[in-house]
Amino acid sequence: MTRTVKTFWIWCAMFGEKALELVRELKRSQDGNLPPYNDDGIRQVVEEMRTLFEQNQLEVRATTDGERGLLSGIQLRHACLERNQRCLLAYVHHRMTRIRDYRWQTGSVLPPSFRLSLCEQEIQWFTRYNRSLATYMRSIAPTGLDLTQHLQPPKSLLVEVRCLEDYGEFEMEDGTVVLLHKNTQHYLPRSQCEPLIRQGVLEHIH
């Protein structure tokens, strides 16, 4: 009797391991970098869930037929099922959040390296998300407003920047021209500087 209980527990400990591994894998990867969609892992988890479910079905039927002592096993398997489900959902949801953040940080075009790690459904979702976002941004102001430009509301209109390389003349929206030479410091409108800061021409001084 004790021996069977022990093996049962070992057997149970196996449940949920793979699902947890999926979540761990996602957590281990760095921000802004998405690991490839783990098709194989997901399939294995789903299979495990199916086995569990079938086993439960069998035992539930047996119980209703009058056999006793199976209920705790059923409950345990059910808990495993639920846990697996939560892990899978967390996996999918977290990936979605990452993809969404990526859209806000870098823009609507996915670089090939990033695209390769997405699965078919995720790409579809991304395109649809893009479309809704664009429609919304067009609708808020008469001319439209790019919401992705400021992730936080800017504290000031102008920012202090330092030039890291010889960029040459830089014309701003209002027509004024600034000469960006290496090792000069400027105080310029934030909206104009941001692309250059991303390119690494300017450095934002706090």
């Binding site: 000031s156 102008l158 000469l179 410091q185 400027h186 105080y187």
Partner: protein, 569 residues
Amino acid sequence: MVVIDRVKEDFYQRISSDHVLVLVYPDVDSLCACKILQTLFKADNTQYTVVCVSGISQLKTAFTTHHDKVRSVVLINCGGGAKLIELLQPEEHICIFVVDSVRPLELDNVYNKGQVHIVLREGEVLEIPDFDDIYDSDQQAEEDGEEEGEEFFSDEEVEDSVTGGKRRRREGEASYEARRKRHLWRRKREEILYKYSEFNYHSTAASLVLYELAWRLTRDNNELLWLAITGLTEQLLHEKTDREMYVTEMHRMQPHVLRLNRSEEETVSAINTMKINFVEELRLDLYRHWTIYDSLCNSCYTACKFKVWSLKGHKNLLEFLADMGLPLVQCKQRFSAMDVQFRENFRSWIDRSAAKFGLDNMAYGSFSAQIGYKIKLSAADMLLSTTALIENPEKSTEEAFLQALDALSWSNVTKILAGIETAKLQQAAIKTHVRNFIDTHQVVCTGPFVYAYVEEGTPNMKYFSRPLTLCKLARFLREAWISSNKRARDYPFILSAPVDLEKGTCLVAGVPCQTEETRRSEFRKAFTQAADRTQANASFDCFDNCVFEMQMEDRGKFFDALTALCTVC
């Protein structure tokens, strides 16, 4: 003549609506002034561009590359002594504002109509000759004939005495009289100009001028005040002003300090703000961040008083420490790691023992600032740290300038601390060098002045190829030399160090003699004349009056000429 002393109305409110180009000379005072101006501009959303210019040629290139983008240019501690209109040839719509502590200012700048504006502190009076004495009202018309006429006149005078004045009658009494007048006027003009430009000295620090501007705009706060104090301290420690003027300025700062640091409400939130206090600062460099022993050995004042490079001097120093009651083990620890009782009593002990050992001028009035429990700095610490960053030998001038500018804001405590570490190295290098000079008797006295060379290839040479550090070494060496040579007080000191070995250039710096109380120097004039006479290949590019660059091979010739020149004078 456009001299602005209503700084707020005529200077700030005029420029603050536009993109402004700010050209800054890399020294501490200018940096502080620049930082104050930046803060003001930020509050007003004024766009600006800051460029570091370390010489006249750089000023010109910086101006020509940026001039078509701006309408107002502010020069901080640069260009006041150069003929700006001639040099920069600005277009009609460009206004140049000069905030410069170097005196005398070039008269062409002062009397320029419309384009060049000299910004002065409110109430300051510029001592300049009258316009009529310098510029002839009908100069334009006669300019062409001027030279000729002058020669003609002097020729005639010679002839007069020979031929008994026959020609005089022929020329006509009236025109003769006019020319005579003109000749006298010219002579007087030259005399006035000579007097005006004879001495170089420094007036109010640029950072003080701009701090008072901020105060007028009611935008002053502790950070800006601290910058102004740092600028003021630079003037004292780099011997740009005399002690008396420093004390006067200190008294002017004191109300500001008291006003901004009222300690009525000691709430919790007030702990993390900056506080400035009046302190009696010791003439021990960086001792709060160093060990007492190192600081005593490497500070100019104590090192020269004790003559630490000699065995006896060193013993004396140890005796001094013993007299104070400080164990050597404690002295060789960082000040912050010393036992509390030693640290607390250090000030009173040093005051007690200093008099016994002839250190009468150990302390001077200064300020210190503190942010919460983070860091406490005295104005001298701040100055040394910033100077070290400006002249950091591992970076180019511009990069070092920007680093130093960063370190001036209090959010960058780590950069200030890094500056302090560099300053320690620099200070130690200076001391080692002074010791070498004294030990090997490399200081030469020629009669009118004393000079020394930093030899090529000496270790730490990289520190001395920049003007501020070279001047510092020169001052240290002068003090050291005086300490062993009592008569030496009256001699100005000249020091030269190699800059670029490939080009074979060296930097020459002069510091006036110790007894010159007003900190005026006449090096500029002497240097230019000597260089002219020997036709040495020298470039007077630096805005600092007593530093210039020349070819190494002309150096001997140059010093000979300088000796001859000074002996005649």
